[in-house]
């Protein structure tokens, strides 16, 4: 038993070291590529792109479920985006509130029979409406199916542009976000099939008429910790993975895809728990099986601001759902593991997700159990244990501060000294007890997935309207 505990504790140490070293490598890659990207942008003038007749049209698909408080502002915001050819398709996913009526009043909708063929599976469409105020706006009214994927599929069925961008109705896109996210596609339209943008935390910022007026750090600790998590995930994780063309997730809140390819893989899987992750995984699979030369890119500057959960209950639900989504996709793509035809995705990205994402909460909880057991049995070296804790704490803090540094030297959205000071302080504070709670929520996700409890529960949100200032 003692021998077993000793071996396990050493394994835990090496696992933890490997996980953090992987993140450190990613941080270094991300710092290098962000700097290069920023320099590259110096030679671009975005309005030159806006003026080119070659910019391909984009259909923006906006699933909306019970968004009466923010839908007017959100749609105006999308219609005002800088992009030469844009079509906005709002999918009213069986809202029980006045979402549709709000849009009818604001945009003077009239029923139309727009080109709509149910190529991708989705619930019955009740009606299609086009705006008399701005003909670029099409509204699909459909029966609810309980998933965003279903609504996105309805939007995809109606999309007439070669590129489609699915955005959340409660997110705020920066005015030039589409121009920026299209840069990789415009540079290499044959190879780049999808591009993800960065998602930032909206909580605490000031919004006027659907536009971001001032970026501020949220007040609540739980929100600030999420800011750090998002910075770490996007500015380090995704930036680094995309360098090796191993990006396995493009956030459902903001990403551009080639419409024909999304249709070719059957669109979003309606019963997927993490529909965004699932779609990208299937795109990789499809393209690798066809031996296509392709890229799925990430661009760190087209920003989409979204509201994150501000209470523990909602956050718990969200994180459990994310973990269920991860397991769901990993299980479905298990056949890609270590198969030559699936290249780096099968031999590197997916194994990484299995070992360092899926298994992390299990290994962590086992670690805690064995440490307690070792202490009880008197085989725990107190000195080593403290050193290990201190090392873990300091190393994880390096990664967190690294992500803040990355934001600081590249996009620098938090201008206030106080905001940066708070952000850095939370890099030291997030490890206890937030990290342990997060581990527990992810374990709950695993448990729920194993029990087949995959129902989607809505998160508590304030909406764009409530965040606006006069």
């Amino acid at each position: 038993m003692t021998r077993f505990l000793d071996i396990w504790n050493h394994t835990l140490f090496w696992y933890y070291l490997a996980s953090n070293l992987a993140y450190l490598v990613m941080l270094l890659i991300a710092l290098k590529t962000s700097a290069a990207h920023k320099r590259k942008l110096e030679s671009y003038r975005l309005h030159w792109i806006a003026d080119t007749p070659l910019a391909p049209p984009i259909s923006l698909v906006v699933p909306a479920h019970n968004e009466e408080s923010s839908i007017r502002v959100a749609v105006h915001n999308l219609l005002e985006l800088d992009y030469p050819e844009l079509e906005v398709i709002v999918v009213n996913d069986g809202s029980e509130d006045r979402t549709l009526e709000e849009m009818c009043e604001e945009f003077r909708l009239r029923p139309v029979r727009a080109v709509y063929f149910a190529e991708l599976k989705c619930a019955r469409v009740r009606g299609l409406y086009r705006s008399s105020v701005d003909p670029r706006l099409l509204v699909i009214d459909k029966e609810p199916a309980g998933s965003k994927a279903d609504a996105a599929n309805a939007g995809l069925n109606a999309a007439t542009s070669p590129y489609v961008c699915v955005v959340d109705a409660d997110s705020v896109l920066e005015r030039d976000a589409l121009l920026r996210i299209m840069l990789p596609i415009l540079a290499d339209p044959k190879r780049v099939v999808a591009v993800g943008g960065i998602i930032r935390v909206l909580n605490g910022s000031e919004i006027a008429n659907g536009n971001l007026r001032r970026v501020r750090l949220p007040r609540k600790s739980i929100e600030v910790i999420q800011v750090i998590e998002y910075l770490r995930a996007f500015l380090i994780g995704r930036e680094a993975w995309s360098q090796g063309n191993m990006l396995t997730i493009i956030s459902g809140a903001f990403g551009v895809f080639r419409t024909d390819l999304v249709r070719a893989v059957g669109g979003y899987r309606p019963n997927a728990i993490g529909e965004d992750f699932d779609l990208v995984a299937r795109l990789h699979k499809h393209l690798l099986e066809k031996r296509a030369a392709y890229r799925i890119d990430f661009v760190p500057d087209p920003m989409c601001w979204t509201e994150v959960p501000s209470d523990l209950k909602s956050l718990r639900r969200q994180r459990a759902r994310w973990h269920k989504g991860l397991i769901d996709v990993l299980w479905l793509t298990r056949g890609m593991l270590f198969r030559r035809r699936y290249g780096r995705i099968g031999s590197f990205a997916l194994p990484y997700l299995w070992v360092f994402e899926f298994a992390a909460p299990v290994i962590e909880i086992l670690g805690i159990v064995t440490i307690v057991l070792a202490a009880v049995l008197g085989v725990l070296s107190r000195g080593f244990f403290l050193q290990f804790l201190l090392f873990g704490y300091a190393f994880a803090t390096v990664i967190s501060i690294g992500s803040v540094l990355q934001e600081e030297i590249t996009y620098k959205r938090y201008n206030d000294w106080q905001d940066v000071a708070r952000l850095v302080s939370y890099c030291f504070l997030e490890h206890f007890p937030y990290r342990q709670m997060h581990m527990f929520w992810r374990l709950q996700g695993i448990w729920q997935y194993l029990r087949g409890n995959n129902a989607w529960a809505p998160l508590k949100r304030k909406g764009l309207q409530s965040a606006s200032v006069p």
Partner: protein
Amino acid sequence: MESIFEKLWRLGPAAFVLKAIVVAVVADALLLAFILLRRAYRKRYFAKRDACVFKWRQKWDDLLSARVPYSAWRANAFDRRIIETIALDGLEAGNPEECARILRFLRFSGLLEKRIFEARRFTGWRRMRALVALGRTRAPEGIPALADALRDRDLEARLAALRGLGRTASPKAAEEILAWVGEKGLVVPTLPLQSALIQCCAEHPQLLLPYVQNATGQLREVLGRVLGEVATPSLGLDLLQFVGDDLDELRAAAARALGHSPSGLAFDVLSELARDPIWFVRLRAVVSLGKLSERRAIPALLRGLTDSNRLVRLRAAEALLALKTEMAPIFQQVVAAGDRYGLHAYLTAVENADVLAKLEEELQSSASLPADEKGRLQNVLRSGSLVAEERASLPDFTGAARP
């Protein structure tokens, strides 16, 4: 010589962890210090920059008219950079008179000459910065330096030069770009190349013809696309040589370009291209047929309505509506074609253009249609279906809850 892994293993976790803690804590401190120092530096830098921008903005007219001698600021790199930035921003936003004034200032002050020198002599990011600035001036004397940079080993420098040449929108720049792609082939992403060529060849699309004829592979595709974009009626018969080309892109480009040609010449060719096996060639042909605004195009456009590709169907329907002719006879032909997808595309275009009421009115008042035919067409228009039994299979929104 033992490897790092062996060293780590021999070190053992305890000793390793001790060292790692020290490294991690030092890294934390360094990162924090870097953030703090950088913030402090940037705060000072921006305060100084803002003050300097304000100072020169106040004296802008004096600067442009050389009442402030060039020697007063040229030697100071900080001032020089700020004045150049203000001038370049002014070039992008100003009216032609203002732009001419600023360009004169850039020439006489020596800023332009300096950038040309830097674009020729420097390498890497410094060269790229000079190229970007040179491109923003749109000065013709910058073209040779920009053309030289097209042969740089660094892709970013080549792209900056290409964009700069595009900004000049001059045929001379087009010649330089074309000579370069003729010599080196496609060594940059296609879109910047196309954009630059479109801007530079807009006035003289003829420049492209010999290159399109002689180019091969993807470069030919790219040049064909540019030709399609910039073609004007002046190209006339020259475009016909590409109609039977093996390259799909080139046929599509020809179809696109023929939309700008005199209708008599283009009509037959476009009707033929509207039957092409490649969908995007048909799409271009249908769109161009619509642009010709000729009644003769109706049969080809009606055929386009029954195309297997939905974009072709939709564009054909839009082209039919854009003909500015009576809609009722066309609608009758759409219904007679018996293709439910075509009918749906046509109705979509009618509703998108908000002319449904007009079509209903035309059907009502049409003297040429017999009463029973009129009723049948009105039924189809209302139901969106050709026959009752097909109604279930088409997406039927007539019963939708009206907002």
